[in-house]
Amino acid sequence: MRLKRHRIGIAGVIFLVFVTVSSSLVLGAQAHDRTSFSASDRFVIPELNGSVQFAYNGSYSSAMLENNAWVFNDLMINTTRLLGNLKVSVKDSDITIFSFYSSGNISVNRQSVRYNAQGAGSQVFDLGAEGVTHHSEWWVTVSVPSTIFLAQGREWHLSPDNIVTVNEQTGNISVAHYNFNAQSYSSLPFIERHSVLIVTLAVVAVAAIAASVVSVKVRSKTHGSN
């Protein structure tokens, strides 16, 4: 019995050492593979006369210019500390990216990029949104200086593959997407679809009836005592 416990203890220690060493190796390799950039680095797109810059230092696992678009994998800006893949193309303008965020889980999908644009060209973003998205899930704003929501189909476009193109805007621009993976209500039966209204009306009816009964009782009691 004692020997068995001893063996389990040794196995546990070996397992812990293995996990620690392997995870540090993986993390070390990850850290080693990352390339840092600084706020002064400029990612130029010569053919489109555009450039991309970051407002803060950061790092990525890889960055390459493909079809006049910079593709940053595992991008992390030091201020946000968030990882994600960003694909950006800029035409006739220079942009400085302040923040970038891309995440998807069971309850919410959200992506965003905030940047300053100089030169009224166009910017094309692939923020990593997956699946079919609707334009109402996207918010594109510009601060000039108060924040104005740009019109979809005019100042910005959403393509079926979730690529957003912002046209002829300068200043601080935000492109954000979120979708709460809400269930489809239209397919629900009538009672479930209108359950809140039904429950609310029931609550009002119960409250009103109960209150009326109480009022009548109190009144009759008062009259009786008089």
């Binding site: 334009h135 601060s143 200086p145 954000a176 809400a182 609310t200 209150a211 009022s215």
Partner: protein, 414 residues
């Protein structure tokens, strides 16, 4: 025990226990009968601030926010996760509790009424939420919740729960500590002020209907107010004319300040967009909000509960709880025994909203539209059983013969 946004029941349970214990302690330990209700009320008001903004109690506090509107786990807190997505904006309540980007436990009923007319009449998406029902249905639900709440509790929300009421009460305490006397309006002027709340409601809802004319009536009265728009624009949703009353509401900056102070909202996140024309500070409050907040604060310092006298949300409660048939069936009432009243007038003097029915009316139900059911008059009345705060015929609080204890009226009624 890990308390997260995914586990709101634990937080709610803990919160309920703490509040219940606090109430019992105050009732048991408070010896001064002329301050007992006030102490209890202050405690409940402060507890309500946490209850209303339940997100304040629930981590994580370092949720990354991103412009323009940062969704956070709190968006799902009660509005969606607990009550289901069909209550996306939280429960409609008859007091000033702003619709927040973070934490939607409850939401001001007037905000919902305005927003469900314009811009979300028949629009499937709200601010970071999805709607499953039509504008009329949403409005019916909002009104239903307001009616139910007001039948049961009347305008006591104003006296016991409203965060802006608490703020005004604190201003009153500040004034008192500076040994300054409050100012009063004439009875006639005070009654006239009560009508202002209904004018504000009418204007706010009328403007909302005008802005929503396209989706309701099929033609656009104000250009640029077509939700979705012919080109798929989001004009209706995003314009700065949404929820007209909220653009001038004095409680809004305070609500934001509470969230910022608690670390729920990042100040830089607000200040980044808080520039531009003087009438537009940012998404969450306008310069007009701030100016009116300052003016109301000054007035509330001089006049007790100055805002409550013209508050449209309070007016909504009063509408439901003061006029027949609602008045007949209201469960929470202020009652007077004419045989025990000596017409000393102390109730009238201490009333924060300068209600007069409890003094002028002979007896019976003396609840009126200005009465916020704070029970200060009950607490201060020196004649046993002359005034009562009742719920469903049961006495919650009643006046006591405290004069026998050697105090004098002017000492406590200042």
């Amino acid at each position: 025990m890990v308390v997260t946004e995914n586990n709101p029941y634990i937080v709610l349970g803990l919160f309920a226990v703490i509040v219940a214990v606090g109430i019992v302690l105050i009732l048991k330990l408070s010896k001064d009968k002329t301050r007992k209700i006030s102490s209890l009320r202050l405690f409940i008001q402060i507890a309500a601030v946490f209850g209303i903004f339940m997100g304040l109690l629930i981590g994580p506090f370092n949720v990354p926010l991103f412009a323009p509107l940062g969704p956070s786990p709190r968006d799902h807190l009660l509005g969606a996760e607990v009550l289901g997505s069909q209550f996306p904006d939280g429960i409609s309540v008859p007091f000033l509790a702003c619709y927040y980007p973070n934490g939607r436990t409850v939401t001001c009923g007037l905000w919902q009424l305005q927003a469900y007319i314009f811009p979300f009449w028949d629009y499937p998406r709200g601010y970071q939420v999805n709607y499953s029902t039509s504008g009329l249905e949403k409005i019916a639900v909002t009104l239903g919740m307001l009616v139910a709440a007001c039948i049961v509790f009347g305008r006591s929300f104003c006296g016991w729960v409203c965060p802006f009421g608490l703020y005004q009460d604190l201003l009153t305490r500040l004034r008192k500590s500076a040994r300054l006397r409050h100012l009063s309006t004439s009875v006639k002027r005070n009654k006239q002020l009560g009508q202002v709340s209904y004018i504000i409601i009418a204007v706010a809802l009328l403007l909302s209907v005008i802005f929503a004319s396209y989706v309701i009536f099929g033609f656009e009265i104000v250009p640029g107010t077509i939700p979705g728009g012919p080109e798929g624009t989001e004009a209706g949703i995003v314009s700065n004319i949404n929820e007209p009353f909220c653009l001038v509401c004095p409680a809004r900056p305070l609500c934001i300040a509470v969230q910022v102070a608690a670390g729920q909202m990042n100040w830089s996140y607000i200040s980044q967009i808080a520039y531009g024309p003087f009438w537009i500070s940012g998404f969450y409050f306008t310069s007009i909000n701030v100016i009116i907040f300052i003016i109301v604060s000054l007035l509330a310092f001089a006049y007790r509960r100055a805002w409550c006298r013209i508050c449209p949300v309070g007016g909504l409660s009063a509408l439901f709880s003061t006029f027949t048939p609602f008045k007949q069936i209201a469960l929470t009432k202020l009652e007077k025994d004419e045989h025990k009243c000596t017409k000393c007038g102390v109730c009238k003097r201490v009333c924060p909203t300068q209600a007069t029915d409890m003094y002028e009316k002979k007896g019976g139900d003396v609840t009126e539209s200005r009465c916020i059911l704070c029970a200060r008059c009950v607490e201060i009345c020196p004649y046993g059983d002359a005034l009562k705060l009742t719920f469903a015929g049961k006495t919650l609080a009643k006046s006591r013969n405290w004069l026998e204890e050697g105090k004098n009226i002017s000492e406590v009624a200042s």
